[in-house]
Amino acid sequence: MIAGWLVVLVALLCLLLGVPLFGVVALLTLGLIHFLGDGFLQEIVGDMFNAVNKDILLAIPFFIVAGQVMTEGTIALRIIRVARAWLGWMPAGLAITAVGACVFFAAISGSSPVTLIAIGSALFPALTREGYRENFSLGLLPAAGSLGILIPPSIPMILYAISVSTPERPVAVGDLFLAGVLPGLMIAGVLCVYSIGMEGLKAKVRFDAVEARASLKAGFWSLMLPVLILGSIYSGFATPTEAAALGVVYALVVELWVHRDLRIRAVPKVLVEGALSMGTLFLLIVLAMALNQFLALERIPQQLAEGMQSLVSNKVAFALLVNIFLLVVGCFMDVLSAILILGPILVPMAMAYGFDPVHFGIIFIVNLEIGYLTPPMGMNLFVASSVFKRPLEQVVMASLPFVGLMIGCLALITWLPEISLWLGRFLE
């Protein structure tokens, strides 16, 4: 047992030294199997191969490529136009436009920082021009942009499903996607209400039916991508992987021949970029899965769950503890590594307290989404600071009220599982 703790200590030291995360997980896996397991290290390679030889994993590069193809060119402007025409007449119209555009864009790109760059770089100057307080806009845009991982399709959700599923307890990607919809819309709604409260007296535009129709026409093909992907999954036509491949083909056809925003010779570079994003994750995925295989075999998550239950018997206290823990993790770790490494350990614990694994997945992702907005590792803070050319400290301070709002939403999402699970049950 002491050897096991020593391995964990050395791995933590390597983490601080700057060894890449996949190297740290490799060290943990090799060390733990050597000292605590049967020492038959060669099997790690077999576990790695079996872990990735899976159909669902293909959905990740496909969604990345579809999002990248669609987000080249003018799609952000098309979506902003639709949101402006349909939502701009409300009080704090431009702020609500920004939230609406982020929700739509998130459904296409699936990435929080990309959503922030695409929508924020166009709307931050516009918000300032229309007299919105700078700190309000600086906080609103990173918060709305962070919805990218909660609104389906979402790559963190696919990774969650892959890493926590076991033969006895499969977690379907489709269920997670559905479970993210209402919490995502709820957070967007709260951001809108807050915007009306803070900036509701700002000039709004009159609703123009002609512009509303014209904007829909210009944005139609972009807005159809999430409809096509989610529609094909929930109508039972396609698996998530097939829907993602359908998304790639659709995005290429639209951008190459309808919008003509992408040239055919740029396609290989988009594909390489998609494969590279996958490559960045891949060693971490295979090694984390091999580690999880070993941990499951040794029943370590179950032992930790039992240990936790002997310390904390109350479900509410556990929920509070796990939320605080994940908020701290979100401050230091990126979303995908946190899911791969902590998901398989925390899910058996949560289930021991009676949490549904799909509901817990949404709690997990909302926590890490808040991590996009909290220093020192909040990705959206860095991106906002560099794209809007404002000091990081100012962005951090401006984001604080929005972090508070999102923590309030997180409490509701944790407390009321129906917010996450109702839509799935209703559509069943």
Binding site: L15, L17, G18, V19, P20, L21, F22, G23, A26, L27, L30, L41, Q42, E43, I44, V45, M48, F49, N53, L57, L58, P61, F62, V65, Q68, E72, G73, I117, A238, E242, A245, L246, V248, V249, D261, L262, R263, A266, V267, P268, K269, V270, L271, V272, E273, G274, A275, L276, S277, M278, G279, T280, F282, L283, I285, D334, S337, P376, M377, V383
Partner: protein, 179 residues
Amino acid sequence: MGNFLRRLDRALARSEEFFLATALGFMALVVFCDFALRETVNESWVWAKELAAFLMVWVGFVGASLAAHRGRHLVLRAGERIFSARLRKWTSPVSSLLTAALCFHLAWLGIAYVTETQAMGERSLTLGIPLWMVQAVIPFAFTTVGLRFLGAGLGILEALPTSDPEGTHNPPTGLKETG
């Protein structure tokens, strides 16, 4: 010698890029065509899913190798705040060399595993191809990733890991050719 190794690294990266673009495009096409055939003429390519999954294994590992070339592997940046700049001159090569050693160990384990699969003559279910051919990418990728980190540790190659998982700070060039 350094120049030659850097050129070799770049040539390998170019062939990896070519492979990744072709394989990923082909994967998407195979999955899409299988889906379209099933939904239109009620026919299915039984081998499609297996082929796509095997290609995924190759794309993932070769992508990891290219990610080492481009310095895109994830790292926790907390260390930067703990160690002074002078100390980091030492910690950075040490972490690269440690990573290289781990990769070489995994590559060695990979070779042993693949040799065993080859000796047992295991074949895939629908395509019938020897499984060791698919698995061979594992030791290959760990070797190239290890070599790149070794090069970075010795100061020959640049393979600095990143805390930016989506490359947001270093957007790929060449994607802005919009008309």
